[in-house]
């Protein structure tokens, strides 16, 4: 029998891995992180993500406090005409803003916002905890389900009926029922489909919005709080904690597979041949990599292989980073507007037409954009999230990347005439690149679609919920587990609790 060196070996130093490592190490356990890349952080990187939303209290408390400041961030839906809609999350001001476009929309907006916030809170409470396991016959699992049912019922009969009506609905129907402003519809629909494989008219796009609201402090299209300093700050704070908690970190240490003895994970083997042993192994990798590579198909039951094969994890978001020599002039935008989340998504149909070609792995000439101006240093940049960029593009990404970048810039130039003169350099990171460079199969932000069949106790796959895999001693703590991705660290926190319970 091998000597047990570590209490926990964490594969992958993404933010969930770091959160998980800190919580376990705080209990005087020896923790090692093996990160394949040269630096930790994974997708919590400004190359991929525009904003890091506020971290839930339950996560910061478990780590013992995180020294982070938050800034409010409003949303601005850009209009070619210059009549932009600005939302900041204050209902009085937002009401007045929307009144300029439509009195009816303004009143309806308050109702819609209140309703969605309440639903997101109801779901959110359920999301913070580890999900119940079905068919486990455990009392606490039934209690959790009961609590969700109870909370949903306590919303009152009217709201309950509304919740039941909306849970499988598409966002387009709901928005068209409420609002007449196409621009307002476009903004909210954009937030509902971002990061998913859905168009605004796809069933289930509403639950994606609720999920995203829940991880953004129950508000999203109105306004959010983002971490000051962004992903760099977030990760460096977590890394500081790691060194305080004596977490060992190996970078450029790509794990080949799990070492298995007597049907239990006992360690990992790195690609350089090194073997490390630990009592528990925790994978921050996506479910497909965890099962196919780490655990190995030869150690899986056929039914599990089938479920992993059906796991939906194709990314649809690309990231374009433009390094600027000067700040472009956006039509009718002041400095506050430039600091907001600028969204180019003029209508629901605009998004849907954009979504259509992506179903066939083709590109749209008019993509949906979320633009973030970084202007706090000498080298300003525009970080642009581009939806829908297929995972594997028809004709190969390498052949069409340049055309795609040009079409994105052309769109922006409709709102900022001088954009082309401001650009020093441009880099496009496609879902395919995310897969290769960040080791996420499918290049999906959330390591798997946020949809009813892949949520709660079904996330990532039935039988693997509650952060355990089908192999004893191997756990998962990444975005592929409940509740999902979005830079909140809940998966990492919940996984740590489960592992500590077993250690």
């Amino acid at each position: 029998m091998s000597e047990k060196k570590y209490d926990a070996i964490i594969i992958g130093g993404g933010h969930n891995g770091l959160v998980c490592a800190n919580i376990i190490a705080k209990k005087n356990k020896k923790v090692l992180i093996c990160e394949a890349r040269e630096t930790c952080g994974g997708l919590a990187n400004h190359e991929i993500i525009n904003y890091i939303p506020s971290i839930p209290n339950s996560v910061t408390q478990s780590i013992g406090g995180l020294n982070l400041q938050y800034n409010p961030k409003g949303s601005i839906a850009l209009s070619e005409s210059g009549r932009h809609i600005r939302l900041i999350g204050n209902q009085h001001i937002d009401h007045a803003t929307i009144s300029n476009f439509s009195t009816q929309d303004a009143d309806r907006y308050l109702e819609f916002d209140n309703k969605m916030t309440q639903f997101s809170k109801t779901l959110g409470g359920f999301m913070m905890d580890s999900p119940p396991r079905v068919m486990n016959n455990s009392f606490s699992d039934y209690l959790k389900l009961f609590k969700l049912g109870f909370n949903v019922r306590m919303m009152g009969k009217k709201r309950f009926n509304e919740f039941a009506r909306m849970i499988g609905l598409n966002i387009a129907d709901e928005l068209e029922d409420n609002f007449e402003s196409a621009l307002l519809q476009g903004l909210i629909a954009h937030d509902a489909v971002l990061g998913s494989n859905l168009g605004p008219r796809s069933p289930g796009s509403l639950i994606n919005l609720l999920y995203r609201m829940a991880i953004h402090g129950n508000s999203l299209f109105g306004g959010i709080y983002e971490i000051e300093g962004g992903s760099n700050k977030f990760i460096s704070v977590l890394l500081d904690k790691c060194s305080k908690n004596n977490v060992e970190i190996k970078t450029s240490a790509s794990v080949k597979n799990c070492l298995i003895e007597n049907d239990r994970a006992i360690g990992v083997e790195l690609h350089n041949g090194e073997k490390v042993f630990g009592k528990t192994i925790i994978s921050n990798a996506d479910p497909r990599s965890t099962y196919s590579s780490l655990l190995g198909s030869q150690n899986l039951d056929t039914d599990v292989k089938r479920r992993i094969k059906h796991h939906r994890s194709k990314g649809r978001v690309a990231k374009l980073s433009l390094k600027l020599n000067k700040i472009p002039e956006f039509n009718e935008c002041n400095n506050d507007d430039l600091n907001s989340r600028m969204v180019i998504s003029p209508s629901i149909d605009y998004i849907e037409e954009n979504f259509n070609p992506s179903k066939f792995d083709k590109l749209s000439s008019e993509p949906v954009l979320e633009i973030c101006l970084k202007n706090n240093n000498e080298n300003p940049s525009l970080d642009i999230q581009v939806q829908y960029a297929p995972y594997k593009a028809h004709g190969g990404w390498e052949n069409i990347k340049d055309d795609y970048v040009n079409s994105i810039i052309k769109i922006i130039s409709k709102y900022a005439n001088n954009i082309e003169n401001c650009i020093d350099s441009k880099i496009l990171i496609t879902p395919d690149d995310i897969e290769k460079n960040y080791h996420v199969s499918g290049g999906h932000w959330h390591h798997g679609e946020i949809q009813i069949d892949q949520l709660f106790m079904l996330r990532p796959i039935p039988g693997a919920a509650q952060y355990k895999t089908h192999l004893d001693g191997l756990y998962m703590c990444g975005a592929g587990t409940h509740p999902g991705g979005g830079m909140h660290g809940i998966s990492g926190k919940n996984a740590a609790k489960v592992v500590l319970g077993d250690l």
């Binding site: 049907d263 190995g296 030869q298 150690n299 899986l300 039951d301 056929t302 039914d303 599990v304 292989k305």
Partner: protein
């Protein structure tokens, strides 16, 4: 060869011209999309041939899958619960395979040609299961059901018949061994396997030689009580031998609608085929290990020796307090042993710890009326019939 579905939705086996000529009853049975005789003349005559002469059965509809490639051996070992790591070339093994819950999907036989080539035979189609299971293994799965014709020759004179036919030295073939013979210029693979619990062989041949082979074999065995043999007679011989039949004695895990109907190997008397000592993982291991450790096995499949001579078809089994403890899955009056036997699925501890005071409620049909019989049962070894000649090497020969 493409089959013209305008005339028949059912496929004909390469022996069809011969089996249809031999059929006196025109009773046919659908098996894996093929049509094969249920009985040729009378079930008693066919059964008697299997026990006293040579019975010949068309086995072609049997699902046959070729597993080839570098990891064929490792994959076969992973697929089934039995330890195949020591399996030798040119041998055959009886196997079962399970799903992730450790519930049995089917049983069958696996033939090892070499470590790169195996053939799996079973009663139903399982291509998708094999293909999905093969992910992560460097193997190729091919359905060869239509490209291999198969005949089963069973009974005390089967070795002599095949020897007359041209299988020189066949008598030295041990049970579960196979050997390729060259007969009349054609390759014939013969394995000493069968489903009757007696001396017997199975022939695996090229379909284009099927008719000639059938004719030559009947010629070779005409003085050795040779007779074609249908599905009904097979059912009798397999019960006597104590062999289980999927979807008769237990529901295949993939077919069962009710999860409670699925059975683990321990529940159908196949625990001896589960080898946890195997070096590598096998499908269902996790669940089976848990079942073994927790002792959560609920049922058992046992042999019953029942008083009287009326077969207990579908009978409910009771304890002395008249509580329902199980059901008969297959029953018959055994003409060879003159015993009333049955296979029964019982709720543990009945059949394992409690073997006495068990009763069967038999409804015996007597011209539209039923006679109800309350018969005492004895739990016995499931293998009711196993003559010495079954495993004898060299096999018995007759002039």
């Amino acid at each position: 060869m493409a089959i013209d579905l305008r005339y028949s939705a059912l496929k004909k086996t390469p022996f069809h011209s011969r089996t249809s000529l031999a059929s006196r009853t025109n009773h046919w049975y659908t098996w894996n999309g093929f049509t094969v005789p249920t009985e040729y003349s009378t079930v008693e005559l066919e059964y008697t041939a299997a026990r006293n002469g040579t019975s010949v059965m068309d086995l072609t509809p049997m699902g046959k899958y070729e597993i080839t490639g570098e990891e064929a051996h490792a994959f076969s070992d992973y697929l089934v619960t039995r330890d195949l790591s020591e399996m030798k070339d040119n041998t055959v093994a009886y196997i079962i395979w399970c799903n992730e819950d450790g519930k049995v999907i089917d049983d069958g036989t696996i033939f090892k040609y070499s470590s790169n080539k195996f053939m799996l035979c079973c009663a139903v189609k399982i291509y998708n299961w094999l293909n999905d299971s093969a992910e992560g293994f460097n193997v190729k799965i091919e359905d060869v059901t239509d490209t291999i014709a198969a005949l089963s020759l069973q009974g005390p004179t089967s070795c002599s018949t095949l020897k007359n036919y041209g299988a020189i030295g066949l008598e030295s073939l041990a049970p579960f061994e196979m050997k390729e013979f060259n007969i009349d210029g054609n390759n014939v693979l013969i394995s000493r396997t069968g489903f009757t619990g007696d001396l017997g062989y199975e022939l695996w041949i090229d379909p284009k030689n099927a008719e000639a082979t059938w004719d030559a074999i009947f010629d070779a065995g005409k003085h050795l009580k040779i007779r074609p043999f249908g599905m009904n007679a097979l059912e009798m011989t397999r019960i006597e031998a104590g062999f289980i039949q999927t979807n008769t004695d237990f529901m295949a895990a993939e077919d069962a609608l009710r999860p409670v109907r699925m059975r683990s190997p321990y529940e159908i008397g196949m625990g001896w085929l589960v080898h946890f000592k195997k070096k590598n993982y096998f499908i269902g291991k996790k669940a089976l290990k848990k079942e073994k450790e927790m002792g959560s096995t609920e049922r058992c499949l046992v042999g019953l020796d029942i008083d009287g001579d009326k077969p207990a078809h579908g009978s409910v089994i009771y304890n002395s307090k008249k509580e329902d403890i199980g059901i008969v899955t297959a029953a018959m009056w055994s003409p060879t042993m003159k015993r009333n036997v049955a296979l029964a699925s019982l709720r543990r501890p009945y059949g394992i710890k409690i073997k006495d005071n068990i009763f069967a409620e038999i409804y015996h049909p007597e011209e539209i009326e039923y006679r109800k019989i309350w018969a005492k049962c004895k739990v016995v070894k499931r293998q009711f019939y196993s003559p010495e000649r079954r495993n004898k090497v060299p096999a018995d020969l007759y002039e």
